[in-house]
Amino acid sequence: MAVIAHDPSLPTQTHAEVTRDVVRTITDKPAMGYYILAGSMAFLTLVLFVTLGAMLKYGIGIAGYQPPVMWSVFITTFVFWVGIGHAGTLISAILFLFRSRWRTAVYRSTEAMTVFAVMTAALFPIIHIGREWVFYWLIPYPNARFLWPNFKSPLMWDVFAISTYLTVSSTFLMVGLVPDIAAVRDHVSGWKKTVYAKLSLGWTGADSQWRHYTRAYLYLAALCTPLVLSVHSVVSWDFAMSIVPGWHGTIFAPYFVAGAIYSGVGMVLTLMIPLRKVLRLDQMITEYHFDNLAKLTLLTGSILFYAYSMEYFIAWYSGSLFEQTTFWRRVFGPNWWAGWSMVICNAFMSQLLWFPKIRKNLASLFVISIFINIGMWFERYVIVVSSLTNDYVPYAWGQINPSWADWCILAGSFGWFGLWFTLFYKNFPIVAIQEIKEMIPMPRRGAAARGH
């Protein structure tokens, strides 16, 4: 017992307290601030769809595209959100297999974040194509003329990777939720009870259910683990498979995966640091957890640092005029500001986390996490846009000039993501009740059980 008490990964509450604390986040009447937050998110979502409507009416030309840069803000944002969507499954699946117990307190929220981030990302392929209304042609559905998609196209890989990831990660989230929803069901009344009862799929926590559940959860985690690594690799191949200097890189897959986790954890920090205060979960989500998240950030950030340097080394070592020009112009060309924001926010900011003082201080951690989000958006901007501005034929070189539509879609995507997340954390257990309990030893006879 004493031994356990010292392990910071273990919660200090009893089963009853865990249930109470978590269910309270749902049953408490929301504060005014919550409505304002949800409202503004809803508004941004509206902006997103109005802009999309305008693009459907007039064509995507109302966005600030300028050839030769055929992909700009939309694809940048797409990759940004897909990246965000990686921390969740990493923490819930991979760390689950590694039996690292500190994940338990945060994995539900990160997993939710993952699902919503991928839902946001999934909008963008549709938003950015020229004829949005025929996006389904990318799906190999049986049709009268037997027209099939091109399975050699990286974009097809993308379609499969993203849709698989969305399905599997949301399944994973829901499976984890069922026993917790059952717990909530048993603590609410009235119409809510009926709703949660339906959602709990008749979960009672009977041995016959736990027996299959625990087993299945293990296999799901096992399946998710390679998936996490694959999805952003596939996204990276969208670029690496091309011959565009600055895209055509063999290190792209690991480079992108590291970046994705980095950005994902960054977003987790941005969300959880305030959320834990708002929901008064500081007993369950402690400095210890943030410390671990920060270390994860430091690790992936350092990998990024390496990847950046390696890119430049390869560009120089390749002896390819085109590669060298591209990378020179990344930091000294017209888009130097983007290039430097990416290097500073990602490579350098993350290194600050070597210092425990900074790492363990939630305020500074929060600030850094904001920089990470910004930096990772710029990383994608640099890769997508500034590579395209100067490829092979100088006569065709050009810059982009984003318009109101680009910014509305970008802001709207945050609204869309935020709306889902806001609704989620107020209506579902943001901390995995049953897994926390799993870690808390049951009281024994004889032993002086705590909390009595």
Binding site: M70, N390, V393, W397
Partner: protein, 1001 residues
């Protein structure tokens, strides 16, 4: 639909009628027929030469300028859809310039007047009936006794002759006015040889070409013909190529195509010419030597900024190469010393003995008058000597400088009549407008030179309610009676044919009219070259020309290639086809040298105010190293206050700054100095070139002539010169990819791909390409490419499937500034990077080696464009297909090519529609395709024949021979995309030591 039909004044039924009539040699259709068809003509009986879906071709003559090129009009279901050169025609021999091809947009111009209009008391326009209109015209003309002035912009033709006779009968005064009528040359020829006609220059025969300001590839003279000749002699044909030198203050397109640009201040070209003549005459002991004693190179050197040595070398080389050719003139060299200049050049040609060899008199291009005769006319107007003025096919109030107060004089005339088809500046001042028919709607002819009768026949029912001015005159004559009662032909067509019959019977035309119409006219090769007698020349004393105004900078207006004197400014094709040198679309600008720009602290796009003693103008700056620091150059053609939706209020007209005062008999375009002031305003320049330097990427490769003669490949040549990365694929790489391509190729033999197919390929000889951009317009016309407008060009969204890339070489640290031009279209790569990245197979490879693009399948991911190393794919960002062709412009669309909806990618198809139709024809005739049977639109139009297309599997195909040429290379070979387009390196006729390919490889 019906209301649209009203609006456009044309509908299918009328087309069907045209088919029935124009089809039959167009013998029945009267040029002035404007009655509407009320009964549907069924297609029960197939008219003799009209098959739906099969184009019908009519021979006609281009009336866009006075060079009178012969055209073939491609019509589909009764409407002209493309203009191409007439191969039988001696002037243009089957090719056509941008302006000529854009004639179609004059025919279908949305701003064409629907019918006659009269200005009412309120100064507004009333639409009136033709009878009424003609009655009014006749009444006014009948009332005058001799107080009738006629300004006729239509060049030598039966019509012009009739108009002249008609005016004479009324004791009126007629001027055959052309804005750029090369008067200084005539006056100089008068001075040199005592004859005022113009020679025809044989650029093809010349071994050494020196141009003194004459932009013979742009707007000076018969450009298509001259370009063909230039390409023949200057294009590298296995060993032999002429050398071209340009002397003048600005690097024009012509100068950019020359091997050397001798940069001298405006006005001092004369001295260079004289000094050269001096040297040459001394060499050849020509009679002119005596006149030139005062002009030894040493004496003129300091005034020209050249060294005596330079001039001497130039002169010696010129003398050494015989026959050589020196030309002078053109608006760019029309300063107050222009006559001296042309005279000096005449002497130079005399001294070098070129007269009769490359300078050929006899086939005189038809004389036209210019400023020298129009100015007195306007003076008489201002004195109120005229009651009536008739302006036909001319827009003097735009093409003459404001400072001449021509508008004021014009207003002094009581009754002013115009036959403009679009409300232009002159028509706007008139009281009555009798819109003429377009050249493709009427019977007419053109006689650009002796022995060439170009015929025009109506190939389409009038698109708008115009009437042939000839008919107007005839009908008016009957109303007037009296002196003009004799003009009693039942229609102008009848009159014309009678005239033709007469000339046919005459000795030099012995032919039958049907046959002549089929050939587009009657051409009798004029073999008679008469040697002009040199007027005994006394010692010359030329004075350096003066410039009005205290300004620091000489203003050099030059005619735009696209807009000519401004008549092209309402044609979107010409507006969007970038200027070959500046690559600016939809705008006009003032060219300022970088140093000057720095001194004035102005940047590109900044709007400056230019002030001359004659006026002010606000123009946006284009910083250009190809203009002298002491000179500002501005294109003529924009700055219209009227003239339709595309032209109105667009750009600025440099003539507002030019002084009209003269007395020499021509307008000194380059006769003004301007001072400049910053305004702080800014207007983005609609440029389509990204970075105009090659940065060592070998996009356009060149070699000095010596290496070309040694049959070096570009790689070897660069290696020999010790420039750049020698081989694009190092040995190890070569070894690594050896056999890989072939192995892959076998792996692709599947399904239809395993069968026997031709493989289409193209070769482009950069030694012949001049960058004139005729191919670009041809591509727009053939493939229904939408014009997107200035706003979209700001975003670089122009859709030109075919673009002329223009790169600069040198220009820094003493190296001469040189331009490189290359047409770039889809390269139809064997390993096309655009194909595998498309998720829906919209971009795929056809069995005959084309890079196919299925518009209907395209969802618009745009990955193909990102992955295209040449960036030749163009995306429909907005609904261009709905905005580009306002009625009736849509009638010009080629039915064989679909228009693309927004959201899909499009690109060059190698004119697949032409390939397929040729294949079908061959199949129907049960034979194999012949080489050269398929000609892409670009190749067809190219005046210098720089493009070859064909089946690369056919060993005898011309394209294969070109591809095997030692100069052949493919762009970006490093990427191993295996393009189907081979470029033949440009050959520079310079010493190998002087080669500046620093930025190429």
């Amino acid at each position: 639909m019906t209301d649209q039909a009203e609006a456009s004044g044309v509908d299918r039924r009328q087309f069907l009628k045209v088919i029935g009539t124009a089809g039959a040699g167009a013998a029945i259709l009267s040029g002035c027929s404007t009655e509407r068809i009320s009964t549907l003509v069924p297609y029960m009986v197939q008219s003799e030469d009209q098959v739906p879906g099969i184009p019908t071709w009519y021979a006609s003559t281009c009336s866009e300028c006075n060079n009178g090129c012969g055209v073939y009009v491609k019509t589909r279901e009764g409407r002209p859809i493309k203009l191409e050169g007439n191969p039988d025609h001696p002037v243009n021999a089957g090719t056509l310039c941008s302006r000529g091809q854009a004639g179609l947009q004059a025919l279908y111009n949305p701003d064409r007047l629907a019918g006659p209009m009269a200005k009412n008391a309120a100064g507004k326009w009333d639409a009136i009936k033709w009878d009424d209109a003609i009655a009014r015209f006749a009444a006014k003309v009948g009332a005058t006794n001799g107080e009738l002035a006629v300004i006729n912009g239509y060049s030598a033709s039966t019509f012009s002759t009739m108009l002249t006779k008609w005016t004479a009968a009324l004791n009126g005064f007629v001027t055959n006015f052309q804005p750029f009528s090369r008067e200084p040359e005539r006056l100089a020829n008068q001075k040199t040889w005592g004859r005022d006609d113009l020679p025809v220059y044989d650029f093809a025969a010349a071994k050494y070409i020196v141009s003194f300001g004459a932009d013979f590839l742009e707007t000076w003279g018969s450009v298509v013909e001259q370009q063909r000749g230039f390409a023949t002699s200057h294009g590298f044909n296995d060993g032999a190529m002429s050398r071209a030198v340009f002397v003048g203050p600005r690097l024009s397109l012509t100068a950019a195509n020359a091997d050397e640009w001798v940069n001298v201040p405006a006005g001092s070209e004369t001295l260079v010419a004289l000094a050269m003549a001096h040297v040459v005459a001394a060499k050849t002991g020509s009679a002119v030597a005596s006149a030139l004693t005062a002009y030894a190179p040493e004496q003129v050197a300091k005034d020209t900024g050249l060294t005596a040595d330079q001039i001497t070398k130039l002169a010696n080389a010129f003398a050494a190469a015989s026959p050589s050719l020196a030309v002078a003139g053109g608006v760019g060299a029309q300063h107050r010393g222009a006559i001296d200049l042309c005279h000096a050049v005449n002497l130079l040609n005399e001294a070098a003995g070129n007269v009769g060899k490359t300078v050929m008199f006899g086939a005189a291009p038809s004389a036209s008058e210019g400023y020298g005769s129009i100015q007195p006319l306007f003076d008489r107007m201002s004195q109120g000597q005229f009651q009536v003025v008739l302006v036909h096919d001319a827009n003097p109030l735009f093409t003459l400088p404001k400072s001449g107060k021509f508008t004021e004089s014009f207003r002094k005339v009581a009754f002013k009549v115009s036959t403009a088809t679009v409300l232009d500046e002159t028509a706007a001042e008139c009281d009555l407008i009798l819109p003429n028919l377009h050249g493709l709607e009427r019977w007419d002819d053109l006689m650009p030179r002796k022995g060439v009768l170009g015929m025009l026949q109506p190939v389409v029912e009038p698109v708008r309610g115009g009437m042939h001015t000839g008919d107007v005159l005839l009908q008016a004559s009957q109303k007037i009676g009296g002196a003009v009662a004799s003009f009693n032909a039942k229609s102008y067509e009848a009159y014309l044919k009678a005239e033709w019959e007469k000339s046919f019977k005459s000795s030099d035309f012995a032919t039958d009219m049907r046959e002549a119409l089929g050939r587009g006219g009657v051409y009798t090769a004029s073999t008679t070259v008469d040697q002009p007698k040199l007027v005994a020349t006394t010692a010359l004393a030329v004075t350096t020309p003066t410039f009005d105004g205290p300004g620091d900078y000489v203003l050099m207006p030059y005619p735009s290639m696209q807009y000519h004197d401004g008549r092209g400014a309402n044609k979107p094709w010409l507006l969007e086809n970038p200027d070959p040198i500046t690559k600016i679309t939809w705008q006009s600008w003032v060219e300022i040298h970088p140093d000057t720009a720095q001194k004035l602290d102005v940047r590109e796009g900044e709007i400056v105010e230019l002030t001359s003693p004659h006026g002010k103008a606000r123009a946006q700056v284009y910083v250009y190293a190809g203009v002298r620091p002491d000179t500002f150059a501005m294109p003529i053609g924009l700055g219209h206050t009227e003239y339709g939706r595309y032209a109105q209020g667009r750009g600025v007209n440099p003539l507002d700054l030019v002084g009209a005062a003269d007395g020499q008999g021509f307008l000194p375009y380059v006769g003004t100095k301007v001072s400049v002031a910053r305004t702080g305003d800014y207007h983005q320049v609609a440029r389509v070139d990204g970075t105009p330097r090659q940065l060592g990427r070998g996009i356009i490769q060149t070699m000095p002539v010596a290496n070309a003669i040694k049959k070096m490949t570009p790689e070897e040549s660069y290696k020999a010169i010790g420039r750049g990365e020698a081989e694009s694929n190092p040995e190890l790489e070569q070894k690594a990819i050896a056999g890989f391509y072939e192995a892959q190729l076998d792996a692709t033999k599947f399904g239809d791909y395993a069968n026997e197919h031709p493989k289409w390929g193209m070769a482009v000889d950069l030694s012949r390409c001049t960058g004139c951009s005729a191919c670009v317009t041809a591509c727009y016309a053939e493939n229904n490419i939408p014009t997107v407008g200035e706003e979209q060009v700001f975003r670089r969204r122009e859709m030109s499937w075919m673009r002329i890339e223009r790169y600069w070489e040198g220009g820094t640290n003493g190296e001469p500034l040189q331009a490189r031009f290359s047409p770039v279209m889809c390269q139809h790569c064997d390993n096309a990077p655009c194909e595998p990245v498309c998720p829906v197979y919209a971009s795929y490879h056809t069995a005959d080696g084309l890079n196919g693009q299925v518009y209907n399948r395209c969802v618009g991911t745009r990955y193909c464009s990102n992955n295209c190393p040449f960036k030749v794919r163009y995306f429909n960002w907005l609904k261009y297909n709905e905005s580009a062709w306002p009625e009736p412009l849509n009638l010009q669309l080629n039915p064989d090519v679909i228009t693309r909806v927004r959201g899909v990618m499009e690109k060059c198809t190698f004119c697949v529609q032409r390939i397929r139709s040729a294949q079908n024809t061959a199949r129907l005739e049960d034979r194999d395709l012949k080489d050269g049977e398929i000609v892409t639109a670009c190749a067809q139009s190219c005046p210098s024949g720089a493009i070859k297309f064909g089946n690369v599997k056919d060993p005898n195909a011309k394209v294969v021979q070109w591809k095997q040429n030692h100069r052949g290379y493919v762009m970006l070979e490093e990427t191993n995309v295996r393009p189907s387009v081979t470029y033949l390196a440009k050959v520079l006729n310079i010493e190998t030591a002087a080669f500046t390919g620093a930025e190429e490889r």
